[in-house]
Amino acid sequence: MSEGTVLRSLHRIESGILGDPDLSELYQEDKAAHGVTIFIPNWNHRPYLPRSVGSALRAVGHLEEAGFSAEVLVIDDASRDGSQKLLRSIQMLYGEAHLKTLFLKRNLGLPRLRNLALQVSRFRYVCMMDADNELVPDNLPLFLRSIIDTRAALLHGNLIDKQGEEVWRLRSGRVATMRLTIGNHIDAFALVDVWKLLRVGGYTTNTRLYAYEDWEMVLHLIAEEEKIVYVPAVMGYYYQTPGSMVQEAVQKTGPRIDPRSQSFHSDEAKTLMRRMFAQTGTREWDPVQVGHMYHPAVGFIEQL
């Protein structure tokens, strides 16, 4: 039985989409190791696409200057706001050498979209973005070098969290500890090793964890003893915008900000995560550091 069949049997990879003849031919089994696919999922985020796609395309230029290969992959999840038309215009402008666009006929939801991106990426490393995020283009080579050096499964950097012009906080700016079982502080906007994520089954599509699949992935990787690495440099910008997935989830389940993890979570998601990954409920484990801090100019950095 092939690895793909095993994974599909775990209901992680969306077999229906992979079975679609148009998409299955895009599946890239051999992924080039010395490059990165910048993935932008889109669902009705047309106003934000020029910013996110523009920053990603500029990052491709910086990556090539640094000797890496790169592509931008935008998958539109059956938007109804005319995003497709805009994306086709961007595609016309930039050609197909660095920008690949895919348009789905029916809406799959973000976790399945992310799994699809893992499957169709040309490169071993994928920079996971949201359509309303913005990359700091100059810094992506630093993060790519770091994930190659450290062999991390997931590598995160600081995200400047903005509400309008105001800087609210830095997201993803701390090393992974077992406090992650209380709430997630590592945003989905991160660099991942496709091979390692596919090996653990990709993002969960369990509907009870909808909008928390990135949190589940981080804990799943930790449980599998994969390396989570934090690079203390700015990876990009996170904009608090109405209609973002987190905002919608927060509206549905009620916002709570946990003082220890500094993260939003719903009670149901938290209970599920604690049940899956912190079954003993032992509070002494919470500060245990499971991630690493790294900078390519310094190496692994010692903390107190």
Partner: protein
């Protein structure tokens, strides 16, 4: 008072900052001043004999933190009130008592030191700028101690030469609104987005001293903003930068520093970036080094202050 041993008392655990200051004071005294100097933790002081204490001048680095960490356990639990009382009772037995601080006079951390149940003969305020005019506790005489280099530090600083550094700037501290604005401004400015930025929140582990030194040894500019609203210069950051070959750069748009000759203070991130464009790293580093080594050593300043007690 030279016939009495100088005992430098430091907090037994907790923040690295005051432990590091204690170690530097001890080194300075040992190198240049006197043989009869010793370093001890607040826990050790609590267990000391009356005879030894009565013949010693006690330089207590952050008395409040010393009392809070004087319990026997090395864990995170603060000392109980009875343990703290025992610590203060022992402290009262000293021949003379000096409080050593490096805080803004207006800060809560400074003011709370004067509520402890022990009288101090003097306060040594270690830093770059005297705060005598603002000191509000006349019962404890104020002595400013310039935070100069120890001999060993002077040698390290003198031995550094220009080298290729891969990190343009480093910002390490607490996640305050000022630091958030600063990091956004440095990244938005666009020329140097690849800086190192680690801003802690409560429950986060800080960088270890060796971790920070390793980062700064690859960094051109060590930048920071005040973590509160007071006009206070963080001399420890200046020293950390200089020892690792980085240029210390404080960004402060709330206060004027024109009357002081401390190099590397900028009113905004933009003015810092403009300066970096017009003057090279090594020239800025050399200015900072010259300022620091021209003011006299930590031992010289300590000696002057000790004569006043």
């Amino acid at each position: 008072m030279s016939e009495h041993q100088l005992l430098i008392v430091h907090p037994s655990s907790g923040g690295i900052f005051y432990q590091e200051l204690s170690r530097r004071l001890f080194t300075a005294c040992k190198e240049e001043l006197r043989e009869e100097v010793a370093l001890c933790s607040s826990r050790e002081l609590r267990n000391m004999t009356t005879d030894r204490l009565s013949s010693a001048t006690l330089a207590v680095v952050n008395p409040v933190e010393c009392a809070a960490t004087s319990n026997d356990s090395s864990g995170w639990c603060a000392a109980t009130s009875s343990v703290r009382s025992a610590f203060f009772s022992k402290l009262a037995l000293g021949y003379k008592r000096i409080m050593v601080l490096a805080e803004a006079v207006e800060s809560k951390r400074y003011r709370q030191q004067f509520r402890v149940p022990v009288n101090f003969n003097a306060l040594f305020d270690v830093g770059f700028v005297s705060q005598k005019e603002k000191h509000l506790f006349p019962d404890v005489s104020y002595c400013f101690v310039f935070d100069g280099p120890t001999k060993k530090e002077e040698q390290v600083i003198a031995s550094l030469s220009t080298s290729k550094r891969h990190i343009p700037w480093a910002l390490v501290g607490c996640q305050t609104p000022e630091h958030l604005k600063l990091v956004a401004a440095l990244v938005d400015y666009g020329r140097y987005p690849e800086g190192f930025c680690y801003l802690q929140r409560p429950f986060d582990s800080g960088l270890s001293p060796t971790g920070l030194a390793a980062v700064l040894s690859k960094t051109n500019y060590y930048v920071w903003s005040s973590e509160d609203s007071f006009a206070h210069y963080e001399s420890f950051r200046f020293i950390q930068a200089l020892l690792a070959g980085a240029v210390p750069c404080k960004i402060d748009n709330s206060h004027s520093w024109d009357d002081f000759d401390i190099p590397g203070i900028f009113p905004s991130a933009q003015s810092f970036c403009a300066k970096v464009q017009e003057e090279d790293y090594w020239s800025m580093y050399s200015s900072a080094r010259e300022f620091y080594t021209s003011k006299g050593s930590l031992a010289e300043h300590l000696e002057k202050a000790l004569h006043l007690v």
